[in-house]
């Protein structure tokens, strides 16, 4: 699916990782896997921004989608060797127009410190998407220009798309609601 060149400039850490499993495919020194014919990159938090920068330089002109997922109750996910599973994932979908192709980036985000650098400076269109991921999952985007909620009221408690956020008998939160008679 992807035809990008293999990067020569992987730093020592990734080189060691790649050496552990030499047959594992990589792109820009980052593990590359394929799901249903769609290419997926699995950077670590350290290589995340550099990977997206490399993708941008490689012709991926537009970041069409950024969303998050909570794998709290999903035990079936498969990740390439060397990628440690974490509770949250930030998922990017990028598109290259020349030639037409897509690539996905799945970033593992730990529950203990769900902080991810923002991509605003590379793709300013991520502003709303990162706000949504923060609103729905509580993932903090470091250095984001407007780190506020976007869909829920600004004083809402909790992050609704997390798997441990209840559905059903959730008390309705309305600010300034009149007291019951």
């Amino acid at each position: 699916m992807t035809a990008g060149p293999m990067s020569e400039s992987a730093d020592a850490e990734e080189a060691a990782e790649g050496a552990a499993s030499p047959e594992m495919p990589e792109l820009y020194g980052v593990p590359l896997s394929e799901h249903r014919g769609q290419a997926v990159l699995h950077p670590s938090l350290d290589t995340y921004v550099a990977t997206v920068e490399a993708l941008k330089a490689d012709g991926f002109v537009s970041l069409v989608d950024l969303c998050a997922a909570d794998y709290l109750t999903n035990g079936t996910r498969t990740l390439p060797a060397g990628v440690a599973p974490e509770r949250f994932e930030v998922v990017l979908n990028l598109i290259s127009h020349q030639p037409p192709r897509r690539i996905r980036v799945r970033l593992q985000v730990p529950e203990s410190d769900p902080t991810v650098p923002t991509l605003f400076d590379l793709y300013p269109g991520t502003e709303n998407m990162e706000r949504e991921a923060f609103d729905m999952f509580g993932i903090v985007f470091d250095n984001h220009p407007d780190p506020t909620r976007i869909l829920m009221p600004h004083d809402w408690d909790g992050h609704p798309l997390r798997k441990d956020f209840g559905v059903g008998a959730v008390p309705v939160q309305f600010k300034g609601a009149p007291a019951p008679r």
């Binding site: 069409v64 999903n74 909620r149 976007i150 869909l151």
Partner: protein, 462 residues
Amino acid sequence: MTLLDDNSTTGTAAKSGAGETAKSEPSRPSAAELGAALIAPGAERVHRRDETSAVIRIDEADAEMVEAVDPDPMSDEPMIINMGPVHPSTHGVLRLVLEMQGEQVLRSKPVIGYLHTGMEKTGETLSYLQGTTNVTRMDYASPLFNELVFSLATETLLDIEVPPRAQWIRTMMCELNRISSHLLFQATNGMDVGAVSMMLYGNRLREETLRLLEKVTGLRMNNNYIRPGGVAVDLPDGWREDVMALMDHLPPLIDEFDTLLTGQPIFRERLQGVGTINAEECLALGVTGPILRGSGYAWDLRRDMPYLKYDEVDFDVIIGTYGDCFDRYAVRLNEMRESMKIVRQCVEMMPPGDYRIQDKKVTPPPRARIDESMEALIHHFKIFTEGFKVPEGEVYVAVESPRGELGCYMVSDGGAHPYRMHIRAPSFVNLQTMPHMMQDSLVADAVAIISSVDPVLGEVDR
């Protein structure tokens, strides 16, 4: 009609010299100046994060607290005005925080969430067959595209391919839906810039298109027609005549729009040079659809990454030149004509065969079998109560909706419900262009800009 033959293909008609009235207002740049700013390349302005950015990044609650009316009438301090969320021109419940200097918009920010009903969360509790009833309510002006992208994602996870007739039916129905959606745009866009009769003309034609959708699917909107595995029912008797009658009926009436709007100096004066954005800025912001094409960038998923049967039909990708409101209007107007071309080809090439996959896992048995076979009854019951299981994995699938790239990111854990169902809504992303388009324009132009973005708040908020 005679006025308009020069611009009936794209919005590339030369800017007229009729911009004299605008020059009497010193704060407003002329169309020529804006055009020059547009043609100047670069996406620097959308990258700004300080106060020179067109986006006023203040908290929505702070904006409510701001004293809207300055007590001193002679003061020329900028003031913050909230427009919406219930304003007739904001296409639903969109609220705009506008920083105004007199009548000029300095910075702005769209505030959304008033229609948020947690549809992505709801999607996690519905089976794959129920899921289409959920997503169809997101972009209520083009529901079939939502159903399509959800079904395509499910089918990719299931690794099944629907029969050719189902694919052709999907292609045709989606293009009919695109026509009805763009007709709604023509109606509201005309209304927003003062051509109130367009509200009647546009909606009249839209209803005629919806009547055909109703005849096929049973419902005007929220059709729940395209489902994982195919479509709900086959085309009804006499569909060919109905579709062709509509295809013969629409073009002369759409040509009337040209007479009413395209060549009309007042309409052009309202849209030309207003709300310009260039292709680089669109790409940086992730913007797709008529806004990107209106900026002169030919990118259409139907042509460039074909799905369904779009690689077997012949159509043109319509682009504009200046990326202003008029180009976006012209792109949508002419996309309707291209859609009609596609529909005619679909009618011609519609193959016989099955309208849904004959895979017992995803397709319920025929109604007649239920009366005579216990197994069929059990099978039917199981499919509609438990649903079918989908192998674990994750996919992202995208289609070209009337508003741009509509995507579905779906994660399955092997169960009968999606583990995570995210809809990449084009309007949600396209909204980010508004502050950049509105900067230094008048409030009246801001209304035209909202209209030209054509947001559907149902899919923005989900």
